[in-house]
Amino acid sequence: MKISFPSTNETFDLELSENMLAANNQLAAENRRFFDSRGIFAIDILGSVGSGKTTLVQQFVRRLKDKKKVASIAGDLATTIDADRIRTAGGEVLQVNTGSLCHLDAAIISRAMSGLNLDGLDVLLIENVGNLICPGEFRLGAHCRLVVVSVTEGPYMIVKHPAVFLDADAVAVNKTDLAGVMEVDPERLKRDALSLKPGLKTALVSAKTGEGVDELMRLMEIPGA
């Protein structure tokens, strides 16, 4: 509280000027320092419901697990389905259920860290809640934010949701194996992303067949990729 001055005898105006996103931003910065101090490369994975986040995490884990120690956090409103699916690919997984909350936040990640074995951990894959709008405002402290958008969401997904791409570091245009039947041009989605934010790391992938996943991982500079 900065200034306080009387308005009438018993009514006062209190100047607060408190940034409501600051608390999360501070915690995110603390998470980042924590990751850095342990040499952990953390990735925040965003995307609409069903865009292929978990399938992509499975691909990442399969490619990394023999070279690096990988752990995942699966954020969902309910169930442990995604954590169970990632576990089949290998590596440690923690399911975080957010209940009615539509996004993960820095505090949730900070708490989740105590539920993971951090010894020698190299890469932390965080699957955010399926939602392209809400998680955007809440940074987690990750080194890289990847947005997964699939051709099955239609050709306008990126131009209609620019905010989340402006805050992203990398974009995976997923389900390219279905581009033909969907009559959606993945290259166009890639161009949309790049025209929003030149320099974005973009790759065309199929999390199902694995095509393009190696290139995406190299672009994202994931250790062991």
Binding site: N19, M20, C102, F138, V159, K197
Partner: protein
Amino acid sequence: MHEASIAGSIVRSVLSAAAEAKARKVETVVLEFGEWSAFQPEQVEFWLRIGFENTPAASAAFEFRTVPGRIRCRACGTEGPCPKPENGAIDPFIGPVLECPSCGGSDVEIMSGREAVVKSIRVKK
């Protein structure tokens, strides 16, 4: 419902300031949201009403102010407001994309317009 989280932060901030000032009642809460912030005032207000139930701020009036958006162009260095293109809105959730008013480039940095701030409160002793 990301408005619920931001409303939770607002409730904590307002009630702790009011308690610190030993106020009996919070009459007004002034909130500032950026022109391009992802928070809808109607939704924030909905969650604030719930959050303030049975507190000194239960009957508070909310005043929402909009902070104008400002951009800086990484290509030509232009800094300032970003006028709406003639063909539509520039809400980041609706599009089209923010474009530099000088060179038309889209490599722009948002300097302001995304804030969510509790500006001030009016309290009664």
